[in-house]
């Protein structure tokens, strides 16, 4: 299952494990990514907390975690190749993995069809 936030983060969910990244729309709007600051593994956050920062040639953007929980991993590949966020935002360009503390928070997020509709209203 994949869900999206209005801030353009996606979360792919398997049981209580989630993988989070930014959407294709987000990477396209940001442009070339030049810096990503990821959270510490083991840190806990509530939903909508700022967990990461992504900077493009144009601007810095905060990343808000779509659900609360504990960070279990971060994408170490990004340290070597930030262009993954632009070239593969939904796969190789993921940001972090999170152990979701309250699965019901997922209900507040959009499914793919709803997100695509939402994005259409933005352009």
């Amino acid at each position: 299952m994949i869900k999206y936030s209005k801030d353009h983060e996606w979360i792919r969910v398997d049981g209580d494990q989630g993988v989070v990244g930014i959407s294709d729309y987000a990477q396209e709007s940001l442009g070339d990514i030049v810096f990503v600051e990821l959270p510490e593994v083991g840190a806990s956050f509530s939903s909508k907390d700022e967990v990461a920062v992504v900077e493009s040639v144009k601007a810095a953007s905060e990343i808000y975690t779509p659900v609360g929980g504990e960070i279990t991993a971060v994408n170490k590949d990004l340290a070597g190749d930030l262009s993954l966020v632009n070239s593969s935002p939904m796969e190789g360009g993921w940001f972090y993995k999170i152990k979701i503390s309250d699965l019901s928070e997922l209900d507040r997020l959009m499914d793919e069809a709803a997100y695509n509709k939402y994005v259409e209203t933005l352009s």
């Binding site: 442009g31 070339d32 030049v34 810096f35 600051e37 920062v53 900077e55 040639v57 144009k58 810095a60």
Partner: protein, 374 residues
């Protein structure tokens, strides 16, 4: 407020749309910030081959003396540079100064080779109305200002620029850095200078508005040339250590503070016959309280305009005025003003980014070696 409806368009507006340019408001114009290639690739392409920029939003004008007085000598009333000594066909970077020695604008001044007692001026888009009003006010009946609204100005920059331009004009190899010439290209009366704003070799071509699109299409037809937006123009000039007016320079800032002492002609330091000479000569003698320097953030995070600079104890010593990512430098780059006591190359500084103090150091500009054909 700037809305897409009341923004001005350059003669290349339709072409930008056709090329997929992402348009943004800039100095009252609707300008391409990037094309589909993206800022990073556009930047690197310019340093590797040739980039083509629409800079038609900038102000272009002739200033012609009415009487026998030399126009260069007259213009020295407004700027600290040696303009009287400009040879025909030579251009120079100089500064319009106010009476307190602050910088009203930075500009390029060419002594026209063919037109008698005439300077060609290129000023910043955001300042042009104010600059031209100032110039008219200062010269009244001594000189005539002919403003070229609607004329195109394009920059062709990069190591392949000379080769590419030679296919349209066989004189490109003979024009040296900071020289300019009137040339007929594709039947249009152009005015070409070997100059630019990227740190690369290159040319700026003033072209009649009706010929701008033809000329740009002819240049873009060559494989080496890609259209480049304002985003890459900014990162290119920042790596080259060049100032952006309104950010790195403003009306409160003197040429000494801005580390543009080289623009103050030696002879004129003796005569002191330029606006704000009192302050500027004093600063030349005693040093200014603050100075523009390059700042290299030591980590990967960017230090953008407005970032506070502190000493190692955490006391504020200055502010970043331009900052971003340097694609050719391969990391973050910035420039800003610091208290002169902290301006030596290699001085460690703190950069307050998103509430955290990051490490940076004062770095000798430019970040990327300039490659001019002198």
């Amino acid at each position: 407020m700037e809305t897409p409806e009341n923004l001005k368009k350059t003669p290349l507006f339709n072409l930008h749309a056709e090329l997929g340019g992402k348009m943004v408001p800039f100095a009252g114009y609707n300008m391409p910030v990037q094309y589909p290639m993206g800022v990073m690739k556009e930047h690197l392409h310019t340093r590797a081959a040739a980039g083509l920029f629409d800079v038609s939003h900038m102000g272009q004008a002739f200033l012609r003396a009415r009487g026998d007085q030399d126009i260069g000598k007259l213009f020295e009333r407004l700027v600290p540079g040696n303009i009287a000594g400009l040879k025909p066909g030579q251009l120079r970077y100089t500064l319009l100064l106010n009476n307190t020695g602050g910088i009203m604008d930075d500009l390029m001044v060419t002594r026209h080779e063919d037109k008698d007692n005439t300077l060609f001026l290129v000023v910043n888009a955001a300042c042009k109305e104010q600059d031209f009003a100032h110039i008219r006010d200062k010269f009244k009946d001594e000189a005539d200002l002919e403003i070229f609204n609607g004329r195109g100005l394009i920059a062709l920059q990069g190591p392949e620029a000379e080769t590419v331009l030679s296919r349209l004009w066989n004189g490109s190899a003979n024009l040296k850095f900071m020289q300019a010439r009137g040339v007929d290209i594709l039947g249009y009366e152009c005015f070409i200078s070997r100059s630019g704003y990227t740190g690369e070799d290159g040319f700026e071509i003033s072209v009649p508005g009706e010929g701008a699109e033809d000329l740009v299409r002819a240049l873009l037809a060559f494989d080496e040339v890609k259209a480049i937006g304002l985003g890459a123009r900014d990162s290119l000039r920042l790596e080259a250590g060049l100032c952006l007016y309104g950010h790195d320079l403003d009306e409160g800032t003197s040429p000494v503070e801005a580390d543009l002492v080289w623009t103050i002609a030696k002879a004129r330091r003796k005569t002191g016959d330029f606006p704000g000479a009192g302050r500027i000569l004093k600063e030349l003698e005693e040093g200014a309280a603050r100075k523009r320097v390059g700042i290299k953030p030591l980590g990967r995070a960017l230090a953008r305009e407005g970032t506070e600079i502190s000493d190692q104890e955490g006391s504020k010593i200055g502010v970043i005025t331009s900052g971003g990512f340097g694609p050719s430098f391969g990391g973050p780059v910035a420039m800003g003003y610091v208290a002169s006591a902290h301006s030596a190359t290699g001085t460690r500084v703190g950069l307050l980014v998103r509430g955290k103090m990051l490490e940076g150091e004062v770095y000798a500009l430019p970040f990327v070696k300039q490659d001019y054909k002198r």
